[in-house]
């Protein structure tokens, strides 16, 4: 008997000691990372996992601010405005013990710029990358690029020697038939090491005990079990039952259920993503309307009327159950160029909107098809349904065509839709990114997501000038000018900014980052 008590108490003690050291976080979200190759997929959940293992030169903290990672100092070179110079962190080791230096950085950038890389667009302005000594690195661009640093947060650094030894120099190519070593194995400098991974099932990470950031970050979580759980009800059930401690996507209908549970909490913050409707205002005639020989969207008064008719407060209250921030501009609030005035909801009521329609000659209304995704944004189809009813009030009969994202987004790229929903996140936190993709005339280099057929040569010129304007004050003025024009021309009808809801056990402490990226080194856990 006595023996047994001793045995039990020692077992208990061992268990307690074990939990005191090992702090495991069970993490679940809807989707899995697509690959461990850090340059193969420019996609949220993929980067979210990679960023625990690999590190960029400059990273964002949980509030979205840029902070030093593998670079300790950076800035445009004084001698040559086309060059950005970086001082690299010394004494950093990769997980396998290899030393980190400029050779690895040059290698990784060249890899990220190579043909199979999905990151190459972010580095399209780069002419050359080179080492400047063992701990110096330079990027030369075609013309000055004042916001180069903002493009580097997801360019992860790999070990050159490791990649060469394991034949992982080339980025994995889905068609080439290669399954490179780097797609399943990792060797980064980050706070966590990859222990094991079964795609779509379970990925285990363990703290990197030699991490350079020890003492600078909480680093309290020592082990992470990551499981994608596709089904929203199951995901919430797993959190409620205590099997997982942290889920990133609590469905809006389950928020109160999670928040009311005594052991759980929901924390929220506005996301770096704005949802809006795009209008084909450039074509002479629309394919999906019932007006012949004329494009009703070409008349700014019609666009203004629609902008007024969309009742953002009602969408927020009914469709989103409060989980959105009504928007007046197609720009998330964190982005350089955002102002409260721009984001103000348009004034006026249904009667004003109707009057505008009559003035434009569409007092009897018209019909149009709205293309909408049904598996991309929070309640995307329901938002479109609400918009259908609201636009019906001013005589616009909207036929809703909701499809999965794989069918919806090609319509925008191929200019096959006149009226569509789109959401946009801005990883660089700068307006230029929005202008390049959504505002500039659609062409080879810019405007790939501009489905509005809007083309304003003057605006295009201003957008191009942003890329090389080194005087930041002048640059900000130009940005403000462009926004003023966009708001006047109403390219897009903004609906709202999405809100992120992270659900977690009470023992987990963190803030919500606007890019939906859980940076576990900042987490604390009881």
């Amino acid at each position: 008997m006595k023996k047994r008590v001793i045995f039990l108490s020692s077992l208990l003690f061992a268990l307690m000691a074990d939990t005191a050291i090992a702090k495991t976080l069970n993490w679940a979200r809807a989707g899995d990372s697509l690959t461990m190759d850090p340059h193969a997929q420019n996609e949220g959940p993929t980067h979210a996992l990679s960023s625990q293992i690999y590190e960029p030169l400059i990273q964002r903290d949980m509030s979205g601010k840029q902070v030093a990672a593998l670079a300790t100092a950076w800035g445009p070179s004084k001698q040559n405005p086309n060059v950005w110079a970086f001082k690299l962190r010394q004494g950093v080791k990769f997980h396998d013990g290899a030393e980190f230096d400029s050779e690895d950085v040059v290698f990784s950038f060249q890899r990220a710029m190579s043909a199979n890389s999905d990151m190459k667009e972010l580095l399209s302005s780069v002419k050359e990358v080179r080492a400047a000594g063992k701990y110096g690195f330079e990027i030369e661009t075609n013309g000055p690029n004042p916001i180069m640093a903002a493009n580097l947060n997801d360019i992860y650094i790999m070990d050159k020697g490791w990649a060469e030894a394991n034949k992982a120099v080339k980025v994995q190519d889905v068609k080439g038939g290669e399954n490179t070593f780097a797609a399943n194995n990792t060797n980064g400098t980050g706070p966590y090491k990859l222990v094991s991974r079964v795609t779509d099932s379970r990925t285990v990470l363990e703290a990197n005990t030699n991490y350079w950031g020890k003492g600078q970050f909480p680093l309290e979580i020592t082990k992470i079990n990551y499981t994608p759980i596709k089904n929203a009800a199951t995901r919430v059930a797993a959190l409620l039952s205590g099997e997982v401690d942290f889920i990133q996507d609590v469905p809006v209908q389950d928020l109160s259920r999670v928040d009311n549970d005594s052991g759980l909490k929901v924390i929220k913050a506005p996301q770096n993503r704005v949802i809006f409707l795009g209008l084909n205002q450039g074509d002479d005639d629309l394919k999906t309307d019932n007006i012949e020989g004329r494009n009703p969207f070409a008349d700014v008064r019609v666009r203004q009327a629609m902008n007024i008719a969309i009742n953002r407060a009602a969408i927020q209250k009914v469709v989103m159950r409060g989980q959105s921030i009504p928007a007046g501009v197609a720009m998330p609030p964190f982005v350089n160029g955002w102002t409260k005035e721009l984001d103000a909801i348009p004034a006026g009521g249904i009667d004003d909107a109707k009057a505008l329609m009559t003035k434009a000659g569409f007092g009897d209304g018209f019909s149009i098809t709205l293309n909408c995704p049904n598996d991309r944004y929070i309640n995307d189809e329901a938002i479109c349904q609400a918009a259908v009813g609201m636009l019906g009030q001013i005589g616009i009969k909207v036929n809703l065509d909701a499809k999965p994202k794989a069918q919806h987004f090609p319509l925008i790229g191929k200019l096959q839709t006149d009226f569509y929903m789109l959401g946009w996140g801005v990883p660089t936190y700068d307006s230029e990114y929005i202008f390049n993709f959504l505002v500039h005339t659609k062409g080879d280099k810019r405007g790939s997501w501009n489905g509005t057929r809007y083309s304003n040569p003057e605006i295009d010129k201003k957008i191009v000038s942003l890329a090389s304007e080194t005087n930041l004050q002048t640059r900000d003025t130009t940005i403000a000018e462009i926004w003023a024009q966009i708001q006047q021309d109403l390219l897009y009808l903004p609906i709202h900014h999405q809100v992120l809801n992270w659900g977690m056990a009470n023992k987990v402490q963190t803030t919500v980052s606007p890019d939906d990226r859980a940076r576990f080194k900042y987490f604390t856990i009881k």
Partner: protein, 328 residues
């Protein structure tokens, strides 16, 4: 003239081959309606030129029958292509996922057979008891509720409220060669219970009702009456004589159902995040991962065709009348 068994086999095998090819053709003609995979394969920074380049590289601009032909030509050499979503060879992905689905299907078929036969016998022997009425009513509800709802209800009861069983995943698995099994660990066995019950509920009800009706019929037949008049114990009559004569059709139907258990595990696997072929297929449809979708559909049709072929052959071997029927 009597057709030889060999000729018959050749003929059925050829027919099966045609069925397979047609299934594949239909599948490929549908893929372009699923959407554009390129949209999911590139980040939002991609240019239109990048899209065109990738489409060309993946052969997505070719007509679907050419894409199908290329797939067949590669498949004939054992190459099923590379998954668009995971960037890994399809064969590797399928082999990784297969054990989870096979184990789930087997366990749920096993549960369905054992419980289904037991309950079926019981309700046949005691057609008027209160337990019989309860079983029949509950089974009717079980059959009419969608799998999705049953799964979620089980999760909320056994995982959230009672905390007895896990709500998702496979638990700890053990690797035996290329086969990963969850049946050798406690957490693995706990994890398989809810999905197996959810998946097998329909089959269980079906087997139960089949056994019940067959058994009631057999119990009323002459040889059972003779057995009774000979004074054999009731237990021996029920299980030795009656049940034995019920099992032939039950086994046939269950065998055919095994194919559909594997094929329709999709919903159960999605609800329980069970990392098998069904979950893989759903993810692939959303991503428009054509190589995986094509291979999965071909695999499932191959399985159905094979099961049917084997059943047909067994019938012919057992019953020579069918052979004569074919010839006349």
């Amino acid at each position: 003239m009597e057709l030889s068994l060999f000729q018959y086999l050749i003929r059925r095998a050829l027919q099966s081959g045609v069925v397979l090819l047609v299934t594949g053709l239909i599948a490929f003609s549908m893929f372009r309606f699923v959407g554009d995979p390129v949209e999911n394969m590139m980040g939002q920074e991609r240019t239109d030129a990048d899209i065109e380049l990738l489409r060309e590289k993946l052969g997505l601009n070719d007509p679907f029958f050419i894409q199908y032909w290329n797939f067949l030509a590669d498949a004939a050499q054992g190459d099923l292509g590379i998954s668009f979503r995971q960037g890994r060879p399809v064969v590797e992905v399928l082999i990784e996922r297969l054990p989870a689905t096979i184990e789930l299907a087997s366990v749920s078929a096993f549960l369905a057979i054992i419980v289904g036969i037991t309950l079926g016998v019981y309700v046949a022997i005691k057609p008027f008891g209160w337990l019989t009425n309860t079983v029949l009513t509950v089974s009717l509800i079980g059959v009419s509720l969608p799998t999705f709802l049953i799964g979620i209800m089980l999760i909320y009861l056994f995982a959230v409220e009672l905390s007895w069983l896990p709500s998702f995943g496979r638990g700890e698995t053990v690797q035996i060669g290329w086969w990963s099994t969850g049946l050798l660990t406690v957490s693995g066995i706990k994890a398989i219970i809810l999905p197996a019950v959810t998946l097998g509920l329909y089959q269980m009800t079906m087997i139960m009702r089949l056994v019940r009706s067959e058994m009631s019929e057999v119990l009323n037949s002459d040889f059972i009456r003779f057995a009774r008049s000979r004074g054999l114990p009731e237990q021996k009559i029920n299980f030795r004589h009656a049940l034995k004569n019920t099992l032939v059709p039950v086994i046939t139907v269950t065998g055919l159902q095994l194919g559909s258990i594997i094929a329709f595990a999709i919903i159960t696997e999605t609800v329980f995040q069970w990392p098998g072929l069904g979950l893989l297929f759903i993810d692939s449809v959303q991503f428009v991962d054509i190589p995986i979708m094509a291979s999965y559909l071909m695999f499932i049709s191959l399985m159905f065709v094979s099961i049917n072929l084997i059943v047909d052959i067994l019938y012919v071997m057992i019953d020579p009348r069918l052979r004569i029927g074919e010839a006349s």
